[in-house]
């Protein structure tokens, strides 16, 4: 290989060595930059600054989350925090650590239950809407429906929370027995509706991005629309669809207002969705908007729960990246 390349270079490359020097040797033509281009430099500095600022802000958030979290864990064991089944952080003497239980499991379980309910609503509805918009709807219908769907994503979550408490819970109360007005079922379902536009819109984008040629190939082989959608378009768009669902999960885990309003503020470990229970975000909202004196145990616990929330979302995102890589069909 090396020999042949070097031969090629001597043969076809610059005519160094033998031969006359080119006639223009010593030319005075200046091909250097003729005018200073300050504007370009300024723009570049601004753009680089914007990029690094967002990185810096992210790092800043993590750091400011970490320091109080570390303080929290000097008083509470990691095991007691992660696996304890009782959370009484808001009770008792505000400045005493020892009279409280710091087991975060009740909050985590409540978050998980609400999230699962929300996904049970959002994934089928969202993907159904995505399939309809991308594969079945006419151009005209799509042009109307997609913006409407995206407006749905812009409704403030506090409105959804109110909806859950005042409309959905009473309706559900006719069907299932609730002990209090607060429960996890109603906010879960409403949160699912809230996430539908996210899943539908991103899912539709992913499926629309699948080349038309693949669909044509499928139709030309005698496949109908459903088979083309499920066997060709859906697998080809899977990575985008998984990303849409993961974003939905992240929104559900991090959603605050709906659960604060409709799931109540009792931190209790229960797997019964008819019961009210406080989620991680619900706890943070309640304490942060109430009286948590700086430096008090419950103040530090806010950061610990926040860090856990951050870690959970991060894990979900990492897992989804792996999942997508594994099942991705490149087209």
């Amino acid at each position: 290989m090396t020999t042949s390349r070097s031969t090629a270079e001597t043969a076809g490359g610059r005519s160094s060595g033998s031969g006359r020097p080119p006639a223009w040797r010593g030319s005075t033509i200046d091909l250097g930059q003729q005018h200073p281009r300050y504007g370009e430099r300024v723009i570049k500095v601004i753009l680089v600054g914007a990029a690094w600022l967002s990185v810096a802000v992210t790092i800043g958030i993590v750091v400011s989350l970490l320091a109080p979290t570390v303080t929290f864990f000097t008083h509470v064991g990691l095991g007691a925090f992660l696996f304890g089944t009782e959370w009484t952080g808001g009770f008792g003497n505000k400045f005493v650590w020892d009279d409280k239980s710091w087991g975060v499991l009740p909050l985590v379980v409540a978050t998980a239950i609400v999230t699962v309910i929300a996904l049970a609503v959002a994934v089928p509805l969202g993907l159904g809407a995505a399939i309809y918009l991308s594969e079945y709807a006419s151009e005209r219908v799509r042009k109307v429906l997609k913006p409407v769907l995206e407006v749905l994503a812009g409704i403030p979550t506090v409105v959804y929370g109110f909806l859950a408490l005042t409309i959905f819970t009473p309706i559900l109360a006719n069907l299932v027995q609730f002990n209090t007005i607060h429960n996890m079922l109603s906010p879960g379902i409403v949160m699912g509706f809230m996430i539908v536009p996210t899943v539908a819109s991103l899912g539709e984008d992913a499926m629309s991005a699948v080349p038309l040629a693949l669909r044509q190939g499928s139709y030309a082989l005698g496949a109908n629309r459903m088979k083309t959608t499920l066997r060709v378009v859906f697998p080809a768009a899977l990575s985008g669809i998984v990303a849409a669902i993961v974003l939905g999960i992240s929104r559900a885990v991090g959603e605050t207002m709906i659960v604060t309003i409709a799931a109540g503020s009792r931190a209790q470990l229960t797997f019964d969705p008819r019961e009210g229970a406080q989620t991680m975000t619900g706890f943070i909202a309640q304490i942060a908007s109430g009286d948590a004196p700086q430096g008090s145990p419950v103040y530090y616990s806010l950061f610990a729960v926040g860090a856990l929330l951050f870690a959970v979302t991060l894990l979900i995102n990492l897992a989804s990246i792996r999942l997508v890589r594994k099942y991705r069909q490149v087209y």
């Binding site: 693949l214 190939g217 139709y219 030309a220 082989l221 088979k227 697998p235 490149v330 087209y331």
Partner: protein
């Protein structure tokens, strides 16, 4: 090819010498006349007074054709002359184009393909299609070939056999038999196109439509596909749209020349100019426009 207006009589020979590195299966000396039996072909698909509209735009008008069984028919003509539109009518792929309307008769063995009660899925199973750009599915080679039989619910004793037969039929088996489970995207462009042909013949069609199947391929891959077409014509009826006149001259039995003529409103509507044995079209065309096109004076 410095000669701008080559002598008609020398066209095929020039092509054979310069453009084809592979063994040409058909003699070009008598310009292919021997390939077609005299008289009307044994028809498979018949078009009568075909008109295609895209919304209000009349794309193709007044096409009457009879496609012969186990023949290769080439549709040639300048861009926008409606040859691809005609091809897509033949397995109702135009149904997928919003606003497309087909009028006139399209008959498959005498049955109106656009008639009531016709299942478009059955039409497409019997009349397969290969596209301009290879479009394998993002699946394994095996699953690509098995796709058609699976989605059409074909009753097969052994899918492995169906896949192997189809890959043999597309002259691809020897190249892929050890990597059937690998992604079709690992294949070269020419292999991908042969995979698409294998995928098509796996549903045992009677007719294969090809829409410029070699335009995205290099000359060697093109030569393989052309060889394959000649082979396939022993079993299947092939209708091919091509921009490559040498290709039409090399492989086809009959050639149809289309061109577009503007009406008083400036709308260009495709029309069939001449449809005859390939040897006649390239050797002694009846219409001046055909002669002008094949000699490179227009289009």
């Amino acid at each position: 090819m410095t000669n701008v207006e080559p002598d008609l009589a020398t066209v095929p020979e020039t092509v054979g010498a310069a453009g084809a590195p592979h063994q040409i299966h058909v003699e070009l000396g008598d310009r292919g006349n021997h390939r077609v039996p005299a008289g009307e072909p044994d028809g498979v698909i018949e078009l009568a007074n075909l008109e295609v509209f895209y919304d209000k735009f009349l794309a193709v008008s007044g096409v009457d054709m009879l496609f012969g069984s186990k023949e290769i028919t080439a549709l040639i003509g300048p861009s926008g002359c409606g040859k691809s539109t005609v091809l897509r009518c033949l397995n109702r792929m135009n149904d997928l184009v919003p606003g497309a309307h087909v009028f006139g008769d399209v008959r498959f063995h005498g049955v109106d393909m656009y008639g009531p009660g016709v299942d478009v899925i059955e039409v497409r199973r019997r009349i397969g299609m290969v596209f301009q750009k290879p479009n394998p599915f993002p699946k394994s080679i095996y699953d690509n070939v098995a796709y058609g039989p699976r989605v059409t619910g074909m009753k097969t004793d052994n899918m492995d056999d169906v896949v192997e037969q189809a890959l043999h039929g597309a002259a691809l088996w020897d190249e892929v038999k050890d990597k059937l489970k690998q992604s079709a995207f690992g294949l070269s462009g020419g292999q991908q196109q042969r995979l698409c042909i294998a995928r098509t013949i796996a549903t045992s069609p009677e007719v294969i439509l090809m829409d410029e199947p070699c335009s995205a391929l290099d000359p060697i891959a093109t030569a393989k596909i052309e060889d394959l077409m000649v082979d396939l014509a022993k079993t299947y009826t092939i209708i091919i749209v091509t921009h490559n006149m040498q290709q039409a001259a090399r492989v086809s039995h009959r050639t149809a020349f289309f061109t577009a003529a503007a009406d008083e409103h400036g709308q260009r509507t495709g029309r069939l100019v001449e449809f005859d044995n390939t040897g006649k079209i390239f050797g002694n065309p009846a219409d001046q426009r055909t002669e002008a096109y094949i000699t490179g004076r227009f289009g």
